[in-house]
Amino acid sequence: MDDEQPQLPEGVLAVRAGPGANCSSIGSVIDLLFGTAVLASVVYAAIAAALPDPEDKK
């Protein structure tokens, strides 16, 4: 296994990736444990896309 810790975005305490599958599952944790860093970048992108635009509050 890769010894690097997954770097999640600031403020993110945990991430569960994937939509689920009628069996309680632990998402893409397995990918991360084996050194696949893709998920972290996916989380960054998902947050950026989902956060309200500050301009909308003006």
Binding site: M1, Q5, P6, L8, E10, G11, V12, L13, A14, V15, R16, A17, G18, P19, G20, A21, N22, C23, S24, S25, I26, G27, S28, V29, I30, D31, L32, L33, F34, T36, V38, V42, V43, A46, I47, A49, A50, L51, P52
Partner: protein, 357 residues
């Protein structure tokens, strides 16, 4: 559409169909969450906090003609569909309870005449619907109507092992279903129950199956522990469960299968994970039954998970009590303990640490 639920630590936030986040209060505010009274309480950890389901499994039918030997629901060809109105009422309750994902199962859900309508109803309530199927009853028209599902998972238990394990040769049906769904642009995962017959001596059966379904377009493989529930709660279980030697192979097999592989919570104790803090940070919280997970059976009765009713508290006996992995496995699968050890509150008897104690 963002769906959020305030917790003392901040909030759970689903930012899209594939990403559910636990965030602190600062980030939760940026998502527009108002914690109200919950944020006046001291922040509690994720594991202690998750006492309302994030995901609910809903059985839509007990009908299935396959007659698999190990069906955990004991589904039958003359089983009954749950009426749409009853399912809609359940979905109202699920949404009001703050869950994010609703996973439909059966029986064979494709046989329910109103499955697409059920998915639309879930979407209308802000839930993310997914469904698991054997592929029976699926055709191109039906596949096209499943676009409201975030993912459709097709069960496939082995190219050669399927018939031996299930007593029903559904491998071809499953592969046809995967191809049909992919052709219609529906996201497909594949559920694989790990059995002695599938893994064989070297795990090659699992790797060959993964290669086959990925070639057909499956984007994810979900590995599941074989659970002795329903018709699988028999002596046959002992002939189908993984051997200790096969359990020892699992980490290596997982490494060969990433990326795009998931495991269920019942498999956690079988893996020699040492990095507990890391797993906690990634949302692994052990047996989810009655905590992050609940289920509603075809009669409309609530249960902690699809496989078991009643109390699913974790074991308090050694070696679990002082085990460093306890926080992420919670003593393993209660269904296995009840069947094999005769005591659902006993440590999971197939856990390598329990066997070594």
């Amino acid at each position: 559409m963002i769906r959020a639920r305030a917790e003392t630590f901040g909030a759970w936030v689903r930012v899209d169909d594939r990403t559910l986040l636990a965030v602190d209060r600062t980030l939760a505010r940026r998502f527009g969450v108002d914690g109200g009274a919950r944020w006046s309480e001291p922040s509690r950890g994720l594991v202690d906090q998750t006492e309302r389901p994030l995901e609910v499994h809903v059985a839509v039918t007990s009908r299935c003609p396959a007659g698999c030997d190990g069906c955990y629901l004991d589904a039958r060809a003359d089983g009954q569909h749950r009426p749409f109105e009853a399912i809609a009422a359940t979905l109202d309750e699920v949404a009001a309870g703050g869950a994010f994902t609703v996973a439909f199962g059966g029986g064979e859900p494709m046989l329910h005449p109103e499955l697409p309508r059920i998915a639309r109803q879930a979407r209308a309530l802000g839930l993310t619907p997914v469904v698991t199927t054997s592929g029976i009853g699926l055709n191109a028209e039906r596949a096209r109507a499943l676009s409201d599902f975030a993912q459709v998972n097709v069960s496939h238990d082995g190219i050669d092992a399927y018939a031996e394990v299930r007593g029903f040769d559904g491998a071809g049906v499953a592969e046809r279903a995967i191809a049909l769904l992919v052709a219609e642009g529906v996201g497909v995962g594949v559920n694989v129950v790990l059995t002695r017959q599938l893994l064989g001596d070297d795990g090659r059966g699992l790797l060959e199956l993964a290669a086959r379904v990925r070639a057909l377009g499956a984007r994810e493989i979900q590995l599941l522990r074989y659970k002795p529930a329903g018709r699988a709660a028999s002596l046959e279980y002992l002939m189908r469960r993984l051997t200790p030697a096969q359990i020892a192979l699992l980490p290596s097999l997982l490494e060969q299968l990433v990326p795009g592989v998931r495991i269920d919570c019942a498999l956690v104790p079988l893996l020699s994970f040492a990095r507990v803090d890391e797993l906690l940070a990634l949302g692994v919280m052990g047996c989810e039954a009655g905590r992050g997970l609940s289920a509603v059976d075809v009669e409309g009765q609530s249960k902690p998970c699809s496989f078991m009713a009643g109390d699913t508290r974790p074991p308090v006996a050694e070696p679990c009590a002082s085990c460093p992995v306890r926080a992420v496995c919670r003593g393993g699968c209660r269904v296995v303990s009840e069947h094999v050890a005769g005591d659902r509150f006993a440590p999971d008897p197939e856990c390598p640490r329990v066997r070594a104690s």
